[in-house]
Structure formats: C-alpha cells, structure tokens
C-alpha cells in the first residue's frame, strides 16, 4: 500500500518532470539580453516562475554545453567577477522553433484538459 510520503514523493517527481522542459523554455526566454545567474533568478521569480538555485545554475551550464547559450566572465562596476549568459545564434533559432511548438501544445492541451472540441 502506498503511504502518504510515497504519494508526495511521486507527486514531486511528476511535477519535476512536468516542469523540466518548461524551465528550459522560461530560461531561454529571459536570455535574449545577457544576464548573470542571480539577476536571471530574480527576473524569473518576479514573473512568477520560481526556480530552485540547485536546478537553475546547473541548467545554465547544460544549455551552454548544448550550444544554446554562450557565456563570459565580466567585472561590472568594480564588483566581483560574474558569469554572464546570453542566447547564442543557434539558441535563438532553436528557441523560435520551440516557441511555435509550445504555442501549439498549449492550444492542444487546453482542448484536452477542458474536454472541448478541436478548433480547426
């Protein structure tokens, strides 16, 4: 029999899987202009997309290693060095395609969840 803890764990796992792809899209959407980790997190938080630091910062590096982002170290206003991320040219192209996919998915999902008929 599944106890409450296991139910919660399962729910957290499913939620994590659901958010994984969306977070990638959310992060890319904010990196048309260069941002460093903390400023990006704040921007996302302010717009209601809360994301854990342990997820966000490794995700940035993963997206960079996949070629979607580029980064460099900068020292602005005599503060400590910060790593700034920005979407690469390839990232912008992929992002544009992903937005289209996302919008189509939203329409389909709304129909599915609301049980409505397909709008042609």
């Amino acid at each position: 029999m599944v106890n409450n803890n296991e139910k919660e764990e399962l729910y957290d796992k499913l939620l994590l899987e659901l958010r994984r792809g969306i977070l990638m899209l959310a992060v890319l959407s904010q990196l048309k202009e260069e941002q460093y980790g903390y400023s990006l997190k704040q921007m996302l938080d302010e717009q209601g997309m809360e994301i854990n630091e342990g997820t966000l910062y490794p995700l940035l590096r993963r997206l960079e290693s996949q070629g979607l982002l580029e980064s460099d170290w900068q020292v602005v206003d005599d503060t400590r060095p910060r790593r700034y991320y920005k979407m690469s040219q390839e990232g912008e192209m992929i992002f544009a395609n992903l937005i289209q996919e996302w919008q189509a998915l939203v329409v389909v999902m709304n129909q599915l969840l609301e049980g409505g008929k397909k709008v042609s």
Partner: protein, 328 residues
C-alpha cells in the same frame, strides 16, 4: 564561523564531488552566485544565520554537485538484469564447489579438524566470492563501455530502415546476455584450470602433517594448455561477435572451427586412461564428457548444415526493398 567562511566551506565541499576538469570553473561561479544572493538578502551585513538559510536553499553539497553532471553508470539499466543473473549463478556455483571441496576434505580426514576446516572453508569462500564478483563486475563494466547498442543508439535511430528489420526468428541475432555469460564462464574455467595444479596438486612436506590432495591425474594436467587454448579461442570469438552485434559468415565459420577444436580436445581427454586420481571421479567425468561429445557432434553438424545451405547473411538489397514496398 562567519558567513563568508560558511560559503567558502560550502563551495569547497561541492567542489570535492565535481569532476576535476570542470571543478574550478563551477566553484568560481557558485561562489559568485552565493555572494550575490547573500549580499542582496543581508543588505550588506551578512550573518551566519542568513548564510545558513541560503545554503539550505541551495541544497546539500553532494546534491548540488550531482546536478552539475549527468548520471554515470558502471553497469547501466540495460545490462543490470543480466549482471544480476550472472552474479547469482556464479556465486551459487562457487558456493557449491566450495561445499563439495569441504565435504571431500572432511571425508578424507574422517571428520577430524572439523572446526579448523570450516574456518578454512569460510575464508576461502569469502576470498573466492570477492574475486569472482570483481571479475564479473569488471567484465560487465567493460561491456557497458564498449557495447555498441547504447553508444550508437542516436546514430542508429536516425539511419534505421524498416525494410532491413531482421526476421523474428533470426539465427544471426546476437544474444548478448548469453554471450556475456559464455565469456565470463569461459574465462572463469580458464582461471580455475590453470590454478588446479596449485590448488589441488601441492603438498606441504615441511610440517608434521603431510597432506596431499591430488585430484587431477598427470595425463589430465598435460591437457590443460590444450583446453586453455580451446576456451580462449571461444572467448575471443564471442567477444568479437559481441562487439559486432551480429553473427557474420566469417564468424560462423570461426565458430565451427573453435567448436571442432574443442570437440577434438574433449575427445582426447575422454580417451585418457586416468583423468582423476580418484577412480570414481574418472568414471563420472568420462560419462559427462561422453554426453558433451555427443551433444557437440549434433550441434556442430546442425550448425555446419545451416551454414552451407540454410542461412542468409546478407541484408535485403535495394531491389528487394523496392519489391517489398510495391507488394506492401
């Protein structure tokens, strides 16, 4: 401990769980991110309490480090069920052989020194379990690294052709678990064979107690290099087939050659007057060898006939595919 020191300890701890190649860069970035956040939250006056709350949000150092690299497997989920089976079989066989050995020694000594023999058995069994479990794990870890299936899957997935799908009953399809088990037991047998003389053939004449267990006859010991060559040939062939992922005409012919050689070596052992120094063992082994020879002759004949008249090793040609597509 002040806030900065706490941050420093944290990033150092995360760094300990990161690969050396990326460690310095990630640690530098993580420190910068933590200090930015700390500064913002403490309005320029960081306290250890604020730092501790922040670090709890970032998560345990190991958890944080784990997020930075993808999961790596020594033995991946695809091979793991086979690995578990092989380990279970291996350890069961080792347990059985050791119990047999204990029984034989106790019988020879008429039950004397029972406790001492029991301790010897436990230590020898433990040593053998660790050694053999290590060998099995090493072989499977190697297969995991060099096995073509998982490594080339993305490339294969792009290039695959439904018309080239092998038939359901495809005799040339590689049975990876079977080959892996075959390689392991082949190597294990080689290992044991070549240590038999040391394990069962030596005597300690320096002490008071002169104790000799000579199970293998001299004529049998002379056959060990032949058996080793035959087993190693089979192991190498299985390894090549495992890497190629499919039986080819050449490897099938090599299989016939290694099986024939193995049959020849088995027959020569069968013809020996004495295999073991214990006569009843010689009779028992000869009976088993007789059955093995009979089965091997049938197997060899069937394989040879299939190879000469039965099997097709060439994938469908372009013409075949077009014809099939039109008829479909």
């Amino acid at each position: 401990m002040n806030a900065n020191e706490m941050i420093e300890r944290y990033v150092h701890e995360v760094g300990q769980h990161l690969p050396r190649k990326t460690r310095a860069d990630i640690v530098l970035e993580l420190r910068s991110l933590l200090l930015d956040t700390l500064e913002e939250r403490s309005a320029g006056e960081p306290t250890p309490q604020i730092a501790a709350a922040l670090l709890r949000e970032f998560g345990h150092p190991e958890e944080m480090a784990a997020q930075y690299h993808q999961t790596e497997y020594l033995i991946g989920p695809k091979l793991f069920p086979t690995y578990k089976t092989v380990i279970t079989i291996t350890l069961s066989i080792i347990g059985g052989l050791h119990l047999l050995g204990l029984g034989f020694v106790l019988w020879q000594e008429s039950g004397a020194n029972f406790v001492s023999q029991l301790f010897d058995f436990i230590f020898a069994f433990a040593r053998s379990v660790i050694l053999n479990a290590g060998i099995v794990t090493l072989i499977f870890a190697l297969i995991e690294r060099v096995g073509t299936d998982s490594v080339d899957l993305p490339k294969k997935a792009k290039m695959w052709d439904p018309f080239a799908l092998p038939p359901v009953k495809d005799p040339n399809r590689v049975d990876r678990p079977e080959l892996a088990v075959g390689i392991f037991f082949g190597l294990l047998f080689v290992f044991w064979l070549n240590l038999l003389a040391t394990w069962f053939g030596e005597s300690d004449l320096s002490g008071d107690a002169v104790w000799i267990v000579q199970l293998t006859a001299a004529a049998f010991v002379q056959m060990i290099p032949w058996m080793t060559a035959s087993l190693l040939a089979e192991v190498v062939l299985k390894g090549v087939v495992l890497l190629q992922g499919r039986w080819q005409r050449l490897t099938r012919w090599l299989e016939i050659a290694t099986l024939s050689f193995g049959l020849y070596v088995t027959y020569r052992i069968y013809r020996l007057d004495e295999i073991s120094t214990v006569p009843i063992f010689t009779t028992g082994i000869k009976l088993i060898l007789g059955i093995i020879i009979l089965v091997s002759v049938i197997e060899l004949t069937v394989k040879l006939l299939k190879l000469l008249w039965g099997q097709s090793f060439t994938p469908p040609t372009l013409f075949d595919r077009i014809r099939l597509a039109k008829s479909g």
